[in-house]
Structure formats: structure tokens, C-alpha cells
Symmetry: C2
Subunit: 261 residues, 2 copies
């Protein structure tokens, strides 16, 4: 509802100065170890870089694409965060995932060429757009690109399995603990603080994602705080007792993925 104001969509492409553009190349991007160019030579990375579109930053509420749109390519968040959601039969927004810098979006649309979810921006966010047809041509030239793309797809499958495991856990405490630990480990692998971070999503959005009522999420946060597991003030979260949280969220597939053995 909030963003039917599509009239303001403009050509985001190429509105950046040349000097800024130089800083925004795959070769100099800090996310490279998580992204597509893993294992690629300088020359190969340059080829990949040449097909990538970098748009002007998106703002809260903007959409990368919408449910049902024709599949054009995959997106990689470079800064900020987004939510992936669909509208169910009752007209409610159901959130299927959150994506942080370095994470790929749209992988589920490769097989049928249609985006099955909408992706909206939670805060000011930059993303790279990789047109899929061109990417596919490149993979036949660059074996390590093909390999890395497959690895990233596999990783996505793995993450989704883990999410299924979290959601099958009954209690609100387990789910929220697992959710926070997931965020924490993802921040950690991006060299950000694993213990103190900002939630870019609202309580309502967390609730939708975890399959709970907003009030339950809020109460669970409060309970965690009372128990000294964390400090929370609106969006600001500080994890105080990771081990206890990990004990609660006992439903992680592998301890290696949480980063907390």
C-alpha cells in the first residue's frame, strides 16, 4: 500500500560521478570474498564488473522488483538491507527473508524466470544488479564464476533449510533467539559487530517473518532483557549472553553456520 507512488521511478543508472564509480568496482569492493568474484582473476573480475549495473541508492520503501515481475537478473546488496515478501490470500504481507550486504537476491527466480516475491528496501540501500543472461554467458567463459554461482545457490539452499528448522521450533523464545543469532553471525562474517547492531526491520516485520504476533515479539524481547540475555532499545540491540541465547535457539542445523560452536 505504502508505495504505489511508482511515478517517481526514474532511470537510476549512471547518475554517479566518474570518481565515485571507480570506488564502486568489483575489484575494490569489500564484499568480494562473499560475492561472485571468488576465485576469479583480475581480468575475469573486470569482465564481471563490466556487466554489473550500480544504481543510485534506494530509499526506505523502494522496491528492487515485485512479485510476478519478469526475471531480469540477480541483485547483491552492497549496503543497507531489504526484505523479501509476498502478499497472501488475506492481503497480508508475509515476510520470507531479510538480506544483508553480500547476500544475493532473486536466485529462486532463475528456474521459471519470474520473481516469486517482492523485495523492498528497509533503509537506504545500495545494490548491484547482475543481468542474468549476460551472467550466464560469462559463466561459460569463466569456470570459477560458474563454480561460485553454484556455491552461492547451494549456500542459499542451506540457509533456507536452516530457516525451516528455526520455524519448526515451537516456542517464541527459540525462534527469536535463533533469529538474533542468525543476524549476529551474518554481521560477524561481514566484519561488523556480532554483539551490537541495529535492527533495520520493525517488530511487525520480525513477527511476520517468525510467524508470531507483534505483541509476542515485543514481549519476548522484554523477557530476554529481564533475563539479562540482551539489552534492547527500539531498534538497537546488544547481545549480552550469546551462549544462553544459543541454548534457547537449539534448533540450528550446524553450529558452524551460526559461528558460535
Amino acid at each position: 500500500m505504502a508505495d504505489i507512488k511508482q511515478g517517481k521511478i526514474k532511470s537510476r543508472e549512471s547518475q554517479l560521478s566518474t570518481t565515485l564509480k571507480d570506488q564502486l568496482r568489483c575489484q575494490s569492493c569489500g564484499l568480494t570474498p562473499l560475492c561472485l568474484p571468488v576465485g576469479m582473476s583480475e581480468a575475469e573480475t573486470e569482465k564481471l564488473d563490466s556487466i554489473v549495473h550500480r544504481n543510485t541508492p534506494y530509499h526506505k520503501g523502494d522496491h528492487l522488483f515485485r512479485q510476478g515481475d519478469k526475471f531480469k537478473g540477480i541483485y547483491v546488496i552492497t549496503s543497507g538491507s531489504v526484505k523479501s515478501y509476498y502478499i497472501n490470500k488475506h492481503g497480508e504481507e508475509c515476510i520470507v527473508g531479510f538480506y544483508l550486504p553480500g547476500e544475493l537476491i532473486g536466485l529462486d527466480a532463475i528456474h521459471n524466470r519470474v520473481y516469486s516475491c517482492s523485495v523492498a528496501v528497509l533503509e537506504t540501500t545500495s545494490a548491484c544488479e547482475v543481468p542474468f543472461s549476460q551472467l550466464q554467458s560469462l559463466t561459460s567463459e569463466i569456470p570459477s564464476l560458474q563454480h561460485q554461482l553454484m556455491c552461492l545457490l547451494s549456500k542459499e539452499v542451506h540457509n533456507d533449510c536452516e530457516m525451516v528448522a528455526i520455524l519448526a521450533s515451537h516456542s517464541a523464545e527459540e525462534r527469536l533467539a535463533s533469529f538474533l543469532l542468525s543476524l549476529s553471525s551474518r554481521y560477524k562474517s561481514r566484519s561488523l559487530s556480532a554483539l551490537e547492531f541495529n535492527l533495520s526491520m520493525s517488530r511487525t516485520e520480525i513477527a511476520s517473518f517468525l510467524g508470531h504476533a507483534v505483541e509476542t515479539v515485543s514481549r519476548t524481547f522484554s523477557r530476554f532483557q529481564e533475563q539479562g540475555l540482551l539489552e534492547v532499545n527500539r531498534k538497537q540491540v546488544k547481545l549480552l549472553n550469546i551462549e544462553a541465547l544459543a541454548d534457547l535457539g537449539g534448533n540450528t542445523l550446524t553450529s558452524s553456520t551460526t559461528g558460535f560452536p
Copy 2:
């Protein structure tokens, strides 16, 4: 616990007669349209076929592999069904997915070369084992194989997202309805009856998968029967009112994936 009797593991390979083996080639397999050989020439399919291992059938309780095992390859169920599960911190079995003929298993292990779940057989089951290193070599020779592998990975991501959506739905009725519809549409796309089928998994296993107590699953089945939505007798299920079930399980990502628009 039930299957520590691993002593009985023998070389399953090549215990089949030559005539039987001829029937078990990719070229003559009915699952081809769902599996890897999509879009491949006769000669290419033959190449793929030559790297595939076909073991003697597995029996209930047998394992294809176990959580933590080194990744060797992906498996495709050709008949029967399996469950994928892990053991959580409390020692409980948590089921992450069920797989039917034509579905690929182990895709989540490509990126880190370790199976993150155990996969056990629910009934007498046949499967093809595709060694990954050889498959990867083939993909560079056969572009359509690479493409199809990517598509299958993408489809898996899509299915998992859908599962997340189902599990985020609150009520027991919604979840069970979605689960049954998912099975139904998968049987349908395998040219089996979409309305009448056998559940190869126990109530306990359904409960574990959906994140409910056994009793809840049992009661929900009974309620569906009282409402005339289905007939159920132990494992035998007959769906009587698909539309009503679809209304309940309103949390499917895309109607196209359920096959019931």
C-alpha cells in the same frame, strides 16, 4: 538409534542383472523431464548416465548419508521417498524435508562439502547417486547440463522459500493443509494421483516437519475428515475438497507452484 546396525552395509553397486540395468538408464527413465538431462542430446545424456551409480534398493531406515559426512555427490530419488533430518541439542530428530521421485538431495552440501542433514529412507526406495566431481567436469562439456543444474538449484531455493512461508503461518490447519497440497501437487507433476495417495511418513514425522505435536496432527486430520475435506485412514489419504484446503493453506507463495490456481 534404530539403525546403528551398519554392519549390514555391503557394496550395493552392480548387483543388478544386465537386462535390468538397461531399463535403468537416464535415456529410458520416466523422470527425465524433472531431472538433470533436460535439454540434453542423446549422446550427452549417455555421458551423464555413465557417471551415475545405481545402487540396489534401500529399505526403510537405511541412510543415504549422515549429517557431517563428507559430500560425495547428489542423489535423485527414482522411486520411494526419504526424509532429511538433523538431531537437535535435545537429541530430538527434526525433519527438514521429504523427497519424492525426481527430487534432488544434497544440494545444500555443494558449498561446504559436508552434508548438513542425514537422509533416511521411509519405504523401499531407489536412488541415483551422481558423484559431484564428475558431474562438475561434465557441466563444462555440456552447457545444458550446467543450465539445468542451476535451474534445479533455483527450484530448490524456491521450494524452501515456500516452506518458510508455510511454517510461518500460525495455525495447525493451515500448515497441514499446505503440506497435503504440496504433496498432492508433487504427485501430480509426477503423473500420479493428486487426490489419493499414501503418506510414507508417520504422524510423528509430519509433526516434526510442521513443528507440531503428534496429537495436534492427528486431531487436525480428524477435523478435516469431519469437515468433509478429506478421507483419511492411517497412511491412506483421499482429498475430497481441494479448494477448501487451498483456502485454509492460504500461505502459498505462488498458486502456480501448488498447481491449484
